[in-house]
Symmetry: C2
Subunit: 528 residues, 2 copies
Amino acid sequence: MPNLRTLPAAIALLVLATTSRLGAQTGEHEAVRAYVDAHQHAIVTELVDLLRIPNAASDRANIRRNAESLRGLMERRGIRTRLLETGGPPLVYGELEVPGATRTVLIYAHYDGQPVDTTRWVGHRPFEPVLRAGPLDAAPEILPFPPPGGRYDPDWRVFARSASDDKAPIVAVLAALDALRAAGLQPRARLKFLFEGDEEAGSPNLERMLRANRELLRADVAVIADGPRHPSGRPTIAFGARGIVSVHLTVYGALRPLHSGHYGNWAPNPAERLAELLASMQDGSGRVAIEGWYDDVAPVGDEEREALDALGALPDNEAERRRLGIAEPEGAGRSRWEMVMLPSLNVKGVRSGWVGAEARTIVPDVAVADLDFRLVADVRPERQVERLTAHLRAQGYHVVHEEPDAATRLAHPRLVRLAARTGYPAVRTPMGHPAARAVLDAVRRAARDDVVAIPTMGGSVPGYVFPELLGATFVNLPIVNPDNNQHSPNENLRLGDFFDGIVLLAAAMRVDFDRVRSATEPPEGRTR
Amino acid sequence: MPNLRTLPAAIALLVLATTSRLGAQTGEHEAVRAYVDAHQHAIVTELVDLLRIPNAASDRANIRRNAESLRGLMERRGIRTRLLETGGPPLVYGELEVPGATRTVLIYAHYDGQPVDTTRWVGHRPFEPVLRAGPLDAAPEILPFPPPGGRYDPDWRVFARSASDDKAPIVAVLAALDALRAAGLQPRARLKFLFEGDEEAGSPNLERMLRANRELLRADVAVIADGPRHPSGRPTIAFGARGIVSVHLTVYGALRPLHSGHYGNWAPNPAERLAELLASMQDGSGRVAIEGWYDDVAPVGDEEREALDALGALPDNEAERRRLGIAEPEGAGRSRWEMVMLPSLNVKGVRSGWVGAEARTIVPDVAVADLDFRLVADVRPERQVERLTAHLRAQGYHVVHEEPDAATRLAHPRLVRLAARTGYPAVRTPMGHPAARAVLDAVRRAARDDVVAIPTMGGSVPGYVFPELLGATFVNLPIVNPDNNQHSPNENLRLGDFFDGIVLLAAAMRVDFDRVRSATEPPEGRTR
């Protein structure tokens, strides 16, 4: 990553070297679309079969069935595969040589899914895929899957765990390859495939496995096929994702809850102390008040500025605000796309004493809060934890990392326990980076609608591993509908987005790194 | 109450009119003690039989068995009784005329108990009383009850629900009457007895019943026989109890929890907003920062000052602080006995989002807090709620009292729901009040140890009803051990405290209102 961001801003201005192949490319995308259109039944069937295999990362037997099934789908297409054993769910690796290709594109997705709460799925079990004519609330009725040769309306949806997150992109990648071949085309780059089996469990093995298989996995570009499109549903490409740190704070009062009448406002109240601490961490308008919080943030480049302005101007923003019931967002008028360019501090949860029907007239003995920090490029996880620690100390707190004993509690009037999982750093490819620009260009040519280009997603994926360990330029190409109920019951995939996604992924496989070059290079030379 | 507190401070200085009966009184208390000593078995048996009747206020059949049983115990002693029907558990009322008496003492206690969690009682069921040689952790073994004529060690304890709270005081009152009679003595005042059956359910009928029976219940002094002694275990008398207000606050964010990566620091976070609000309500050192919070607090009188200084000087305070694990109490060096002279604001509980193993990376949609305000004399419940409301508005909040709809949430950037149960006001008898002083004097003469005189208890009981509705001076004479596990499993009664309490209650029945008179009267009297 750092090597990418140290490029002068001017390099970020790119020009198309030629447009001579435009006509040919348009025909190419139409051919791919026509293939998908004619093979809807086979493609959906392949997805549905895969969705029938339960895929919680902790379900060892079924996870391996998923991996073996993927391996079969890949081998059938002439992809050389290997299972990279992690000790847990294997990484399914595949490689496809392309004669004459000088670049490598690695396509990453994951085949495990979030745990399921079967009781909250409506009308079917999460690993028994069903078809509906729309979202659950609008179209509760379950439709029969059409027979071979039958057509799917683009608004129809397949409901199942991992329908969207993240098996659809895997099936789409394979269908894209079929479509290219049917159109007599080959990918322009050597392809590597990496399908992870414990992403939803926090990718505990990914960094280690990538370090151990650096040479095998080395690539020029890593295309992450995960996550939903922009809320508008338009084709989307993102150039970064935020890192994350999880923090658990415990503030201590007396050794046990005390009667609030006898002890209130005499015994220190940890719920009140915690409230003071949390209030001290931000200024009430979405700005973090911890010293140095924004110090390492790299300035926003010209391309990013332009992309942010375009994102901020979308009418979807105002509709989204109203739909969410937000009277006034924080951030002093900046869109949420701009806010995610900054490191955040969010209070995920707070607990102390009892509330509501369970409320008891006590002074609580402890108060806890869970926070997450999102990180942007150049902001390292451990530095933000250090800044928080310094902030706690500046508020007069003695900071410990283990549960304090009674003597420690008696010794320190202000005592906080800080437990941090430092998570991982952000990833961000400058939008002017030639390889990323080439992918964007390829996707734009294939798309039937304006492509939404997002400097960084607000969410976190450990995408830093691709540039930091493999030297690959990170781009995220999410294809599924934004209202897919990812991680929740009744997860679903809108088939129109899925079919369109196949075309976009085919375009990414056909990315032409030679079509763009930097404006700083001599105009005659072909550049990357 | 107001009529008491409008007395000039000078009247608070009282003098003993005579000490001529001192010798006789000492003999009297010894006679009472001797009676208790000789009748331990019968007294404990009466208590144990009463404890065998389950007494949750909601257990209609058994509550009535308790009431009938009490009635029998009272009638057997020549007390004329009535059940005052409330629609729920009846008030057991009794009256004992004393020839020549010009004053009336009403003794209040309650016969219902807190609900029980049978699974947490060790070695027996809560309504099967057992005997142990000490506290549960020190003396887990269950002892047989001694046979008739057998002796009880003062450290022995009876374990059962309501052993301390509040059946022991009822049995003690009746035993005190027996002891006086055995010594050839009569109460000096007409006695009225009022035993409530739904105190632990929040006394839902008490105010209404007292209003409806004002003439029947009218008294000069109300002796509340409830609660534990001072933590030192010394004889204790308290002249007030705090009132209470319960408040439930809800702060709103978006209509549903949002992904913290995509929306954090853009979507308003109600957990952070609530933290700001709670932090704004106090100054970090136990002082409430809401405007006007202390405006109505009456100044501390000379007797109260003296009592507070004496309480603050007790070595128990430092031992208690260490035992509770409190490094530094709030209140700028004031003892907790002084802090309870002020109205409090306590955060009982806070909830927002999820924490610990359940933490989810979201911006919560709501955050709630439960607070209790304790009230002191002259601070009315509704005024404190008004002050809180004004404070919330001053922080920019729109205040509602019902769950807001989506339109309301969209209209107000800062929105809080306030639900208050205004509870009831405080009760406080000036320590210089002649009748209260007379009771203190009587108890001091009977006690074998220094009596701890407390201006006000920190806890809340609806004692305001006695001065406000019956015109009776409130005093609280708690007799049971402070470590009685009141409201908890393994509630117990230390028999030494119980036997001693009978002597103290007998002294209260023999209170001589003519022994003390105001200092504004001619100075020839002996002063104390």
